[in-house]
Symmetry: C2
Subunit: 329 residues, 2 copies
């Protein structure tokens, strides 16, 4: 049995776990990132967390084939570095070299949304499927494109930024500089914005009661109010799923994945989200008569997607005999 370590690096937490070659996670640990620290300290902690999960699983370093890191931003797996991340002080961070000073194993690095896609493709909603796309709805929209069982992210590992494709030309200002990006209309944050606008415009709607009960606005409010029969809430969900379906249909026409996986906390709503989303999305792509259709599924890997996906990305790189030892940075 071969084992892999997956590290899920976030702005708030660093998580790591031992994962089998089938994508089963044996154990995991989490520490705070403290992103204000120098990158050397953060990366050293990633190495030490790796040693900890190896030991906890009753394994030795020699039992582990490779370490995979899923990180925000744009990685350079060849150089073993993180080129750039928005929310971490990691410009050209030599991750491979610094982690290998703590744990002497091959180290691979890819984007976190890509790793989430890998997790679904190995052990989740797209298990065993060669070509899949996983769209994760959160503060923004992440996309992980799996082609032939491998992550595809372009010549510079900066691709599959599907959240930053313009869907509404001249629309809302996006943090990326463009206007009308998909993530301004299809992310969980977009649903929160639509909920807030509808609640303000309709002071008597159930939306406002739910917001008061919950003590805050979040992506669940509209679903709760809709289940109580509120028409304004149903309109919010209708508007949100319209935009989301348009973005998903764009992803289907572009990639024609066998399975399109939709993930993120909002997917916990299940059928009230999935059913209209499937209906709306599947009426739009460009399938001619007789052409096989993409299946839309909800993500299954939940919070473990980051760790499992990073580990399975590491496995794929090791299987492909990519050099995870030499560092160009």
């Amino acid at each position: 049995m071969a084992y892999y370590v997956g590290i899920d690096l976030g702005g708030t937490n660093i998580k790591a776990g031992i994962v089998t070659e089938e994508g089963k996670m044996l154990n995991k640990q989490s520490i705070k990132t403290h992103a204000e620290r120098p990158m050397e300290e953060i990366i050293k902690d990633m190495g030490e967390l790796t040693l900890k999960v190896i030991e906890e699983a009753g394994l030795k370093v020699a039992d582990v084939t490779a370490i995979g890191i899923g990180s925000p931003g744009t990685p350079d797996n060849k150089a073993g570095a993180l080129v750039y991340a928005n929310n971490l002080p990691f410009n050209m961070a030599p991750m491979r070299r610094l982690i290998r000073e703590v744990v002497d194993l091959p180290v691979y690095i890819d984007n976190d949304a890509n790793c989430a896609g890998m997790a679904e493709a190995v052990a989740g909603a797209a298990k065993g499927i060669k070509d899949s796309v996983t769209i994760t709805l959160g503060t923004g929209i992440g996309a992980g494109v799996i082609i032939g069982g491998r992550i595809y992210s372009g010549f510079n590992q900066a691709g599959s930024e599907f959240g930053h494709t313009v869907l509404v030309s001249g629309g809302l200002q996006c943090s990326c500089g463009r206007k009308g990006c998909f993530e301004k209309y299809g992310s969980a944050s977009a649903l929160v914005r639509m909920t807030k606008e509808a609640a303000e415009a309709n002071p008597d709607s159930e939306l406002n009661k739910v917001i008061e009960e919950e003590g805050k606005i979040n992506a669940k409010i509209a679903f709760i109010a809709m289940r109580r029969g509120d028409k304004v809430a149903a309109q919010v969900i209708d508007e949100y799923t319209d935009y989301l379906a348009d973005g998903l249909a764009n992803a289907i026409n572009t990639f024609m994945p066998e399975v399109l996986v939709v993930g993120g906390g909002v997917c916990n709503e299940g059928d009230p989200l999935l059913v209209p989303l499937q209906e709306k999305t599947m009426s739009r792509p460009y399938f001619g008569p007789g052409v096989r259709k993409t299946q839309i599924k909800l993500a299954e890997m939940g919070n473990d997607a980051g760790i499992v996906g990073a580990a399975m990305m590491g496995k794929a790189c090791a299987d492909d005999k990519i050099d995870g030892i030499s560092s160009a940075v």
Copy 2:
């Protein structure tokens, strides 16, 4: 030296040629499609045209490794069939079987826009580049996505329909059923529409004089009038390149190709199109600091792209030892 036959099947003409393994075309022939005929007759003609170009080049059938067909619509290369095409009577057309009744060679089939991308990747603007995307601006917008030197078009060969991604939510009605597709704003037809609208709204503009001189409206009118100093024409080009740049930036954020090739007749305009297009497009994608950038180039293969690309698609399939003999249809 290995030789390949490329067949470029269109609604009006069938073209075929002999192509070397480096993507050099030795000769070509063209006949009318007469698309109103039964598919059996059309496909038989494709086989006979193949025999003709082989003979004309002084070769024998045994000198040819494979036949590649670039076709409109959605192919099924495994089945050796054309599943569906909008403008041809070819539902589940058993192309491989029928062509092999005339010429006993392996037969491969892919979409014409994908083949155009293959031509640019083997012998044109993206020569030697592993990951490229070719966007062809015509009546619609075709896209050919090359990943790792191979055509990528999804699990059902129906993908990379980038022209049918919504760019302007709720915008102009597209023939595909959706509203606001990229091809309604970025195709040569879109430029013609914008030219017509501007000419009608500005009866005194130079646009109208050029239309009268040319005897018709086409995609060149606005460029000609702009070169004569017409401000209305300059606005048309500005609006057109704005939308086009938005769609190209979407393609870059999605695929991050090393080279993005833009083709189609409108590209004969050269720098007056390319320079503003490069400036506008490159200011939009999501490149972080230090991340390598995509290059935008004009297509180089011109009218030969279809034949050369089909032949080189056939070569790639033969190199990959895909079965081009058995027919499932």
